[in-house]
């Protein structure tokens, strides 16, 4: 069904409620940790059966419904006029919507996600773009991108790019981006820019025959989708390399299992076979890494992860418990303790070998 039709169905539901003297309401899955379940078919975590109801019986519920109608109307107009806008623009446009105006961009971003869930369409179908600029890629792969002029351009992600690498566009679907040729045999996703640049400078993409992808903290949808396509279409294993703290584990989890916020499209974004390389709490001990004390927030986050269904396997339970015991965390760049080349000469080769890769 077309996106406009799906969106209209939402408006019709509210309209019919009003006509029939029912208090207007919409149902959608609860987007909480307690409501994600493992999808055996796709091997990713998705929303479960707990629903919440947005109802006009409360003022905040009524505001949400009114905003929903305004956003639907706005998207319908964009589709009909062949326009698109950023999520930030959507927020600013709401300034002119009187009572339906959003109080923060967080609210409008969330509502766009809600609509994805209700209509089973993607943000891209709504002509809404994220603000986030694409993460960077360096490695032995040739990509074909359709430019805004409509030309197809081939880019070799080592020879045709500078040290900053190839930038992932916000749309990474097949009509926009194709993989032409690949010689690399794995993907290494790196959390921080500092470590990404270190690996690039040390030419680790060549040495280990890997495609390096910069995650830039919590990765954007396009980055995750890009990684998933590399994994699915080219059969490349994905290895995630982050800091050794609870927030970084969540970055890994969102790559591998799907994020709680976007669990409605997990099968589309998550790479279930992605493996975590480090920095693990065991690494902090084994490599005697310089470390910081865990903050109160860190400890709370670790404890929350112990009850997060995505972390329920022996590896994670053991590592998290170990970290709670030693009360330490370490950054990727702490490896510089042993010199700038240590990470590429010793640490990564050792860890990759442990995971069964030839280096």
């Amino acid at each position: 069904m077309s996106t406009v039709k799906e969106l209209k169905k939402v408006a019709e539901k509210i309209y019919n409620d009003l006509v029939n003297g029912r208090i207007p309401s919409l149902e959608l899955p609860a987007r909480t940790k307690s409501n994600i379940v493992f999808d055996e078919r796709y091997r990713v975590w998705k929303y479960g059966k707990q629903n919440i109801t947005r109802s006009a019986v409360s003022l905040s519920g009524a505001y949400m419904l009114l905003r929903t109608i305004y956003v639907i109307d706005f998207i319908k107009e964009m589709i009909e006029n062949n326009k698109s806008s950023t999520l930030r623009e959507l927020y600013y446009i709401s300034e002119g919507w009187g009572e339906a105006k959003f109080n923060s961009q967080d609210e409008s971003d969330k509502l766009a996600e809600d609509l994805e869930i209700i209509t089973k369409k993607l943000r891209e179908d709504f002509k809404l773009r994220p603000e986030e600029d694409g993460a960077r890629v360096i490695g032995d792969i040739v990509i074909e991108e359709v430019t805004r002029k409509g030309e197809k351009r081939r880019i070799h992600c080592q020879d045709d790019v500078g040290d900053a690498g190839y930038s992932i566009p916000y749309n990474v679907e097949k009509e926009k981006l194709r993989f032409v040729k690949v010689n690399a045999d794995k993907v290494i996703a790196v959390e921080t820019g500092g470590m990404f640049d270190r690996l690039v400078e040390n030419r680790f993409d060549e040495k280990s025959n890997a495609i390096l992808v910069h995650l830039k903290g919590q990765p954007a949808r396009s980055t995750r989708r890009f990684i998933k396509r590399l994994n699915e279409e080219l059969n490349l294993p994905v290895i995630v390399f982050t800091d050794g703290d609870p927030w970084s584990y969540r970055i890994y989890a969102s790559v591998a299992y799907g994020a709680i916020k976007t669990a409605h499209i997990s099968e589309y974004l998550a790479t279930p076979s992605a493996q975590f390389l480090g920095v693990t709490p065991s690494d902090i001990l084994n490599y005697e890494l310089p470390s910081d004390d865990l903050s109160k927030e860190d400890i709370a986050a670790l404890q929350s992860e112990l009850s997060d269904p995505r972390f329920q396997d022996d590896f994670w339970i053991n590592e998290i418990k170990l970290q709670l015991e030693i009360k330490k965390k370490a950054e990727q760049q702490a490896l510089a303790k042993y010199g700038l080349d240590y990470v590429t000469d010793v640490y990564l080769p050792e860890k990759l070998a442990e995971m069964g890769y030839e280096v």
């Binding site: 509210i14 029912r22 207007p24 006009a56 019986v57 003022l59 505001y63 639907i72």
Partner: protein
């Protein structure tokens, strides 16, 4: 004269100035700022006492001028009865003159060491005499006397005296030149002292002229003088050995038994005989012949005998309504949303009658994230120093204010929030922690009374806050049905190219209550209360509405015709169809009283269906 006696005399002679120097702190002169406040305080306390004793509404003018560097001229003028010329030197020029020992009375004079200490301080710091002008009535001349205290003899010495013309009918003015420091915008300042004084003395008008010429008038809120407190005799439970010995020496009674019966309260002749018999003393023994040991025995025996509590009608409270008015007047610029006050019944600790009054001011522009302001008073005198050592502060700290809507870490300590807490302790003998008389000692009975009184005010505050929260909630529903829902219907219809659907049904489902809204407008001594009711239920509603009134006699008008008017309540029968609105109103003569919150109640309907009124629990 033996040498020892001569020496003793000398010791006494040097002692006054030296005593003062050594005890500056407990006398309230330990810093330049505090010295200035203390001087003003002593003079103002005297003026208020004098006016009240003479039955005159106090009109006091306080002026402070900077004369040179840290030298200030303080002048305090009242419209009291004046002081006869011959008494002026004794009142202002002798330390501890006229202090009472054997009779007890709730008076300001209990605080501080007295005006003579201020006179002494001024002459010690600037060398200048105090100037006193006084006139005792129409047709009498005014006398102007300049005097200092002879510190060797503790006697006044007149430097200059003259008769002057003074327009005033009667009154007294004192001018002092002192070393001091004038500060503004803090709790310990002359301004705050006068403001606090004005709150608990709403019958006084105080005009204050600051050094920069700025004039502030603390206007009186009521034209009635407080009742004069009565003197009472001491109660045996509260008497100290030293006082007893002094009384034994000075009494005119011939026998110990009649002494006890005559000079103490709650002691009958029969009880007195019983006590001396138990103490093993001849009831006919002359009081002056009683030995130290015998006196001790008498006190011990009294403790074992059950006596009636002392009379408590000797206390003169400010009263709930006057404290409220004082608070309202002095917090007007903060526009607080709520004021509650409470006056407890008199109570007794160690044979000493006392009573507690409290007040809470909430909201308005009071700071939300700071500690509450505490106003402490003893016998209508503000206590500005030693907050931490005072039983008032202690009592406040021990209340769990979280239950009443203020923030407090762990339910202990001084609470945070937009509030002012006032506590007044009145007693014939306030148990201060020290001679500086700035903090009340920890007496269990007093703490308990303070706590009970504050809890009473706090409960009312809580009720007010819950009511407000309920109203806010109802208000948001109002916004929902009057704006958001119609807009939702319009926009959805527009988007789908369909006609806008009617929403009345949905509205009554969402509200499903009877909405009661009220306001009071006071103008020209008349308060008009308007009560609006809207039925948002889907069925017709019938119930009885009760509106509390202070007094039937004050009603000027009631609309529409009520079912019944009782002495304290108006009763209407309300009958509303779905979506129907109705208005009920009444007007009251205020006669100087307040009417600022409606008490609305309903009967004959489940109160969960009502917003804006409670269930009527009284007689139908």
């Amino acid at each position: 004269m033996p040498i020892a006696e001569e020496l003793a005399k000398k010791q006494r002679q040097i002692s006054i100035a030296e005593f003062f120097e050594r005890n500056k702190q407990i006398l309230g002169f330990d810093s330049l700022t505090r010295a200035l406040i203390t001087c003003v305080k002593e003079a103002v306390d005297n003026s208020l006492d004098a006016c009240e004793e003479a039955g005159i509404l106090p009109d006091i003018i306080v002026e402070i001028k900077q004369t040179d560097g840290d030298e200030y001229k303080i002048s305090v003028e009242d419209n009291g009865p004046g002081i006869v010329k011959s008494q002026i030197p004794h009142v202002f020029g002798r330390l501890l003159y006229g202090s009472r020992f054997h009779s007890l009375k709730q008076s300001r004079g209990q605080q501080g060491i007295g005006i003579s200490a201020a006179v002494l301080y001024s002459q010690l710091t600037t060398g200048k005499p105090a100037v006193i002008t006084s006139k005792i009535g129409e047709g009498f001349p005014a006398h102007k006397i300049e005097l200092i205290i002879d510190t060797k003899k503790n006697l006044p010495r007149i430097i200059k005296e003259e008769m002057v013309h003074w327009k005033k009918k009667s009154g007294t003015r004192i001018e002092l030149f002192i070393k001091g420091k004038y500060v503004k915008n803090r709790k310990q300042s002359v301004y705050e002292y006068l403001r606090s004084t004005a709150i608990v003395n709403p019958h006084a008008r105080i005009t204050f002229i600051e050094p920069d010429g700025n004039e502030i008038v603390f206007e009186r809120a009521v034209d009635k003088l407080p009742e004069q407190p009565k003197e009472i005799k001491p109660h045996p439970y509260g008497i100290e050995l030293g006082t007893l010995l002094k009384m034994l020496k000075e009494t005119k009674a011939k026998k110990i038994s009649t002494f006890l019966a005559n000079e103490f309260s709650s002691v009958s002749l029969q009880k007195a005989r019983q006590v001396v018999a138990k103490a093993g003393i001849d009831e006919n023994k002359e009081p002056s012949k009683i030995t130290l040991d015998e006196a001790k025995k008498i006190l011990e025996t009294f403790k074992k005998i059950k006596l009636m509590a002392p009379p408590t009608d000797c206390l003169s409270p400010i009263g709930e309504s006057l404290i409220k008015r004082g608070l309202r007047k002095e917090t007007m610029q903060l526009s607080p949303e709520f004021i509650s006050t409470d006056t407890r019944q008199p109570s007794v600790f160690s044979g000493t009658p006392f009573m507690v009054e409290t007040g809470i001011v909430y909201g308005g522009s009071l700071p939300r994230d700071e500690r509450v302001e505490i106003l402490r008073f003893a016998n209508r005198v503000p206590l500005l120093y030693q907050e931490g050592a005072c039983v008032i502060t202690e009592a406040i700290k021990n209340i769990d204010w979280r239950r009443y809507g203020l923030e407090q870490k762990g339910g202990k300590g001084i609470p945070y929030g937009p509030a002012i807490i006032l506590v007044h302790v009145a007693s014939v003998n306030i148990p201060f922690t020290s001679e500086s008389k700035e903090a009340i000692a920890h007496v269990e009975e007093i703490e308990k009374e303070i706590r009970l009184s504050l809890q009473q005010c706090a409960r009312r505050m809580k009720t007010h806050l819950s009511k407000k929260a309920k109203k806010e909630k109802a208000k948001s529903k109002f916004l929902l049905i009057s704006k958001i829902l119609p807009e939702l219907a319009r926009k959805t219809a527009e988007m789908l190219n369909k006609p806008t659907p009617p929403i009345d049904d949905v509205i009554s489902q969402i509200m499903n209550i009877i909405w009661i809204d009220d306001e009071i407008v006071s103008k020209d001594g008349i308060a008009e209360s308007k009560i609006r009711i809207i039925n948002y239920k889907r069925k017709p509603q019938k119930f009885i509405l009760y509106a509390e009134i202070p007094d039937k006699e004050k009603i000027v008008e009631v609309k529409p015709k009520p079912m019944e008017i009782r002495s304290k309540v108006i009763k209407w029968s309300v009958n509303l169809k779905p979506s129907e609105k109705a208005e009920y109103s009444f007007k009251l003569k205020l006669d100087g009283e307040d009417f600022d919150e409606n008490g609305l109640y309903v009967l004959g309907i489940d109160p969960v269906n009502i917003v804006g009124a409670e269930k009527w629990e009284g007689e139908e």
